[in-house]
């Protein structure tokens, strides 16, 4: 009932671990069979290894959290050699999330990943709010986004999913631009650019000043964006943002998401994604749905009132 096809890849169910919140999958295998998930997005990868941001990296907010990890990762070559083989044993779809500072890095990175066996989908992160120059800019302006998608498209033999930023000037136009430039799917949203100030030191909490906000607090906005984007593009949409229960996941699916990603909620309860899978399964059974896809986009794209 939950089997889902995303860009031609069959997922056991539409529940995917969001990038940066699930490592490379091994850590959470200690708690549950991660093979029961629809898929796992890797930690954001860059061509070269990165140490990430200095200073404090996490801060809590009402019903949310801010992070400033800054794409710390071992680099794509090390990922391919050391992490991917282990990920492939986990028994679920593997989505490689790739970030970058400039076009060349993106292209070279995607090329390496595209040639690797065992990666099912490449998720192009054009939206990390925690990296200065680069990254973010691609996520804000449509033409910048289109240019990076167009640049990686020719070297990407695998399904290409573009991860959008909620900080985009116009997320609908952004999604359409990515679709036109060759994206096979879009996923949204990444974290929101946000600020916290330590009133005692009179300084920003984060060295990088702003950081990315995620968690339940962002859900209503993320859901609106997913609905708007799903109403405007013809490629599949993967919904992300504050999903913590199967009801949340279902809202995103009804708004038009083919699948969903769960991030911060896993920190609250390591096994939350299994609860979501089980809840969606029960829902399908209770409602006599042969497939969860039946309720995908059921909200429609038309606004009921004039």
């Amino acid at each position: 009932m939950l089997e889902t096809t995303l860009c031609g890849i069959t997922l056991k169910n539409p529940v995917i671990a969001a990038s940066g919140t699930f490592g490379f999958g091994a850590e959470y295998s200690q708690f549950f069979d991660v093979g029961r998930l629809g898929g796992i997005c890797s930690k954001g990868l860059t061509l070269h290894p990165r140490e990430g941001n200095p200073g404090l990296r996490v801060w809590e907010t009402p019903a949310g959290m801010m992070n400033s990890v800054g794409l710390q990762n071992p680099g794509i070559p090390v990922f391919l050699e050391r992490e991917l083989p282990r990920m492939r044993t986990l028994g679920t779809a593997i989505i490689a999330n790739v970030g970058g500072d400039d076009l060349e890095d993106y292209v070279e990175g995607v090329q390496l990943l595209s040639n690797a066996e065992g990666i099912d989908i490449i998720e192009l992160n054009i939206s990390c709010p925690n990296v200065r120059e680069g990254g973010m800019a691609f996520g804000i302006k449509c033409d910048a986004a289109a240019s990076v998608v167009a640049a990686v498209r020719p070297v990407c033999a695998k399904p290409l999913m573009v991860k959008l930023s909620p900080n985009a000037e116009d997320i609908v136009a952004m999604a359409i631009a990515c679709e036109r430039a060759g994206a096979d799917a879009v996923s949204l949203v990444n974290s929101f650019k946000a600020l916290a100030i330590d009133i005692h030191t009179r300084k920003p909490v984060f060295d990088n000043v702003t950081a990315g906000l995620s968690g339940p607090c962002i859900k209503p906005i993320a859901l609106r964006m997913v609905w708007e984007v799903a109403s405007a593009v013809h490629i599949p949409v993967v919904g992300i943002g504050g999903i913590a229960t199967w009801q949340d996941a279902l809202e995103f699916i009804m708004a038009g998401a083919t699948a969903v990603q769960v991030g911060s909620a896993t920190f609250v309860k390591p096994t939350v994604m299994l609860d979501i899978v089980d809840g969606l399964e029960r829902y399908c059974a209770d409602e006599h749905l042969t497939s969860i896809a039946t309720v995908c986009s059921i909200l429609g794209t038309e606004t009921p009132l004039p």
């Binding site: 708690f31 990296r57 996490v58 801060w59 949310g64 959290m65 339940p216 920190f267 609250v268």
Partner: protein, 250 residues
């Protein structure tokens, strides 16, 4: 001692909650998941808010229980302190790499600041009492030291306000030269000082680091600390590190 692998337990029962001082409590929970000295749990005693669980070291452990010694610092620990016997907590753990007990031989100093004493009781229990000296600093009234005395361990106390033991910081009464091994836990600035003294004296030192955490299991990279090997995850690569490998900022 072997680090144990973790589990997620939704509704572990509180067996007791003791108030030791104004703001320090000992919480004992029914769980068979155990823990090695220096390992910790992500603890949650609330439903939705704050969002994240809080890391607490294993203070004492037996087959059916784990105890935590904690200080009320903010919202999370305040909610913990409201728990009564019979209350429920969610636990993820035991997590992380604890003290390298196999390396702990000869004369051992345990140097702690404030609530940094928490992980040391279960550590001391595994060591030959006669070889161990606890050098514990507190802001004011000491806590949780009697239990070391009961083990037969030599305990020296320093308090910042001089209300007990020597007035001042614990580092003032700590001479690394007379020990073969040092373990430390406390505020980062204090541990940096201990690490420095040990390095000068050429004595190996293990430090249990602090960091704000989200996942606690090594998946999110928010708890990183700078080491000579690059950034390491306090939760999964530590919390116990070789002090000589840590890049101390203070």
């Amino acid at each position: 001692m072997t680090n144990l692998s973790p589990a997620y337990i939704e509704g572990a029962t509180v067996l007791s909650q003791e108030r030791l001082t104004e703001d320090v409590y000992r919480l004992t929970v029914a769980t068979t998941t155990g823990g090695a000295p220096g390992q910790f749990y992500m603890v949650r005693a609330w439903e939705r808010e704050p969002l994240l669980a809080r890391p607490l070291s294993v203070h004492s452990v037996d087959e059916d229980t784990v105890s935590f010694l904690y200080q009320v610092r903010g919202r999370g620990t305040e909610l913990l302190a409201r728990l009564d016997e019979g209350g429920k907590v969610a636990l993820t753990g035991p997590l992380g790499h604890g003290f390298h007990t196999e390396e702990l031989c000869g004369r051992i100093a345990i140097v702690t600041g404030g609530i940094g004493i928490a992980p040391m009781f279960c550590l001391a229990r595994t060591l030959p009492a006669g070889d161990v000296t606890v050098i514990a600093g507190f802001k004011s009234t000491p806590y949780a030291v009697a239990q070391f005395v009961d083990l037969g361990v030599d305990v020296r106390v320093a308090t910042e306000d001089g209300c007990d033991g020597t007035r001042g910081f614990c580092t003032a009464i700590f001479d690394p030269h007379i020990y073969d091994m040092v373990v430390t836990c406390g505020p980062m600035s204090m541990m940096a000082r201990v690490a420095h003294l040990c390095a000068e004296a050429g004595v190996p030192c293990q430090a249990s680091l602090e960091a704000h955490m989200a996942c606690g299991v090594g998946a999110c990279l928010v708890c990183s600390c700078a080491t000579v090997l690059g950034n390491q995850r306090v939760c999964a690569d530590g919390p116990v590190f070789d002090a000589a490998e840590v890049v101390w900022h203070a």
